[in-house]
């Protein structure tokens, strides 16, 4: 069971809330202070991507965020319920939106996540996509 679970309406304004919660739980879980900015940015990228997809395909469905304090690892999972293989709409790491419109490559958000998280696993689920990221922790909150 996750240490903290959060589901939120797919609105850009709530991505900040998700970042704040993830950073607070990471700190509580004993993630080193020097890594908290990376957690904050990676979680923000994953949530931005999910929100953009939900707004296009399933705006009534919430985006889910699970934060788990494992033995020596702090794990974050962001799950969307957009159909697997759906072409991503505007937003970070998408095929349209500010980043793509400016000529930045599609998938930039994913590239940023991969550059930040200690471990990243992206998988298709029955309902959408799961982005699982983790960082070392001391497991202080367990």
């Amino acid at each position: 069971m996750a240490t903290v679970e959060l589901s939120f309406t797919a609105l850009p304004a709530h991505v900040r809330t998700a970042r704040l919660v993830a950073t607070a739980v990471a700190r509580r879980s004993g993630v080193d202070e020097s890594l908290l900015d990376e957690v904050r940015l990676a979680v923000g990228e994953a949530c931005s991507r999910a929100v953009a997809g939900h707004q296009q395909y399933c705006p009534a469905e919430p985006v889910r965020l699970a934060l788990t304090d494992l033995a020596g690892r702090f794990e974050v999972e962001v799950t969307d319920t957009c159909a697997p293989g759906a072409k991503w709409p505007g937003g970070a790491g998408s095929d349209s939106g500010p980043a793509a419109a400016a000529g930045l490559p599609a998938g930039l958000g994913i590239a940023v996540i991969e550059g930040l998280a200690d471990e990243v696993q992206i998988s298709e689920t029955s309902g959408g996509t799961s982005i699982r990221m983790s960082w070392p922790s001391t497991g202080a909150s367990r």
Partner: protein, 116 residues
């Protein structure tokens, strides 16, 4: 913290002061400001990011979009940033090679003047 935007002219260059968080929620406001400045024929821009607390890929997209717009008019868009947490995302994405990134507004202006 939300996003605060302001701008003023200095030595013929428009300085855009950004404070707060640039993310998927707030980035559209920065994009609108940059478009408005270009539409008002301000083609030499310096974006001062010293008070930016957070920047994600959406924000990067807005900055690159601004750069493209000013370059279409032979203009420039330089950045002022010394914060490691913000510089990191520029490095990860390789955008340190795209933007002129300076320590102070005066340095950014001086560098722009030297190129003229």
């Amino acid at each position: 913290m939300d996003l605060k935007l302001d701008h003023h002219s200095k030595d013929g260059i428009e300085i855009v002061d950004v404070e707060g968080e640039i993310d998927v929620y707030t980035a559209p406001r920065l994009r609108e400001l940059l478009i408005e400045l270009v539409n008002n024929r301000f083609y030499q821009l310096v974006v001062n990011m010293e008070k930016v607390e957070f920047l994600d890929s959406t924000g990067l997209g807005v900055l690159v979009g601004g750069l493209k717009r000013v370059r279409a008019h032979d203009g420039s868009l330089d950045l002022v940033c010394t914060q490691e947490r913000i510089l990191k995302i520029f490095r990860i994405t390789g955008l340190t090679k795209v933007f002129g990134i300076h320590d102070t507004v005066d340095e950014a202006i001086a560098a722009r003047r030297a190129e003229k």
